[in-house]
Symmetry: C2
Subunit: 329 residues, 2 copies
Amino acid sequence: MHHLSERNIIEAIARQSRGGPPELIKGIGDDCAVVRKAGGLVDLWTTDALVQGVHFDLAWHPPRLLGRKAASVNISDIGAMGGRPRFALLCLGLPAACSRQLLDELMAGFLEVLTMHDMVLVGGDTVFAGERLMLSVTVCGEMEERHVCYRAAARPDDLIWVSGCLGDAACGLALCRQGLRAEEAYLSLCRAHLDPQPQARLGRLLAQSGLIHAMMDISDGLATDLAHICKASGVGAEIMAPDVPLSPELQKTAPALQLAPLELALQGGEDYQLVFTAPADSSAPLQDLCRGAGRDIACVGRITAGEGVMLCREGERQDITFRGYEHTF
Amino acid sequence: MHHLSERNIIEAIARQSRGGPPELIKGIGDDCAVVRKAGGLVDLWTTDALVQGVHFDLAWHPPRLLGRKAASVNISDIGAMGGRPRFALLCLGLPAACSRQLLDELMAGFLEVLTMHDMVLVGGDTVFAGERLMLSVTVCGEMEERHVCYRAAARPDDLIWVSGCLGDAACGLALCRQGLRAEEAYLSLCRAHLDPQPQARLGRLLAQSGLIHAMMDISDGLATDLAHICKASGVGAEIMAPDVPLSPELQKTAPALQLAPLELALQGGEDYQLVFTAPADSSAPLQDLCRGAGRDIACVGRITAGEGVMLCREGERQDITFRGYEHTF
């Protein structure tokens, strides 16, 4: 399964499953499904699976951090709509060779992140799954309907913002593959891959501020995730290469691995930062808001009336629409 | 992973994830999690995974029926609390060799059952999963809080009832394994394994009637599922062997396969019928209710003040507690 065909499959499934009751505000096609309930609130639902040898390698992924990551990537989707995660369900596919210790560490990590976010595990299934460990997680969140941030809400002339730095996770994966996980200098990069921090609190803050339009999390690289926003909103995007936030560690380490920092940032995936759009006159209050919350955000470009995602670098424009990370290795 | 250790794992996880907000009425440990919401209603959540080579074999399982089954087994859990299934999320783990046609048939079957139950697919994830096809499904349902039927509600002297006939699915699996799926005489037995019919409407009817106490669905065989009810309720159960409902097809076919019909019924699993308990004075109205709905139910024994599940046969008592189906083949 290549990335493009995964996307095609999801689009085909979405076409087949249109409709639904009036309380279903959004089905397939955003970070979460959105279902209206009483009191001006909505439920948010999302599901994401991690498969051994596809999304993680136990050779370098400590089980506790893997358990944390399985929770975090789903919490990230709730945060990307602006919601508060509440409950999780976990389907655990266990290989024959799975030890009790691995399982205990995995669950400890998973539950640790749930506790951090005031969430509870409410159900699950444990099955024998052959050769590969597999974690399939569903998370339910909640928020006020009027604050939900959809992918489809970007408008021409919006500025495009991202939280944190991009590319660290992809560089961390490259370091892990080369057996460099334990090196002191690479800890923060490796940690970005092994134990990403979902920006759920920031997402909630941004949504409640009323300052922003579209939002989603960056799981497949900015080039792909921004392309989702553009497609859903019927707009285009221009990214200014020099404005993409790169950590000092990435800028120092990537070249030594023969990797281009900017490419990792745009196409690397798994950063689980947020990308969001906002009208230009929101910039000052947005920066104040995030500074107050101790979060860095950076303006990386603007939404256009065109289509696709263009990278502007040294006077050239390059189409990078959907040039994101493929979940294979 | 053997069945017993699966159960141990779930119990260990449940111990680690106690607590939660006051609106969480029931977490891990029943057919569904139960969360209170406005208007006297609760949400019900359940998740169940099917793994190729563990829960199904594509050599004899037509993809459309497999898609149907993945939906049905989750809908069965919602029905077992008395709820109305509403929404589904699907994590699809696809092997490298998965064809577009297989995928289309699988999804057609899955969505067909959702439509039959007025449900909508609201989200999912599609991942490459190595060697095995895997379907991990989460279903959310809804019902009135005062009608929820828990496992823990059985009381001494309740009568024990089951819907439909038991053992057909296990016999059907044996027939499929022997390549006899296409034989006209075996169609209904094979269908019970390949395309089980969840008793969600009957479950809802029973729950709303106020006539019953505990209820759950029979996924692992009556011996195991009734043991769950007994353990949760702090009671015992006696099953009268001659009263266990066996279909004419099962009684005719099982002996020819060197299988005992009663063992398949008690330990075979995957029938997705309902087992429920009710005070003796509910018997007549219960039978009227089910007759009116065109559903057969049979009284198979009674709840005792003891513990464990006893099988009473020809004057002998045999302990069959948790002697159910192991999800392996």
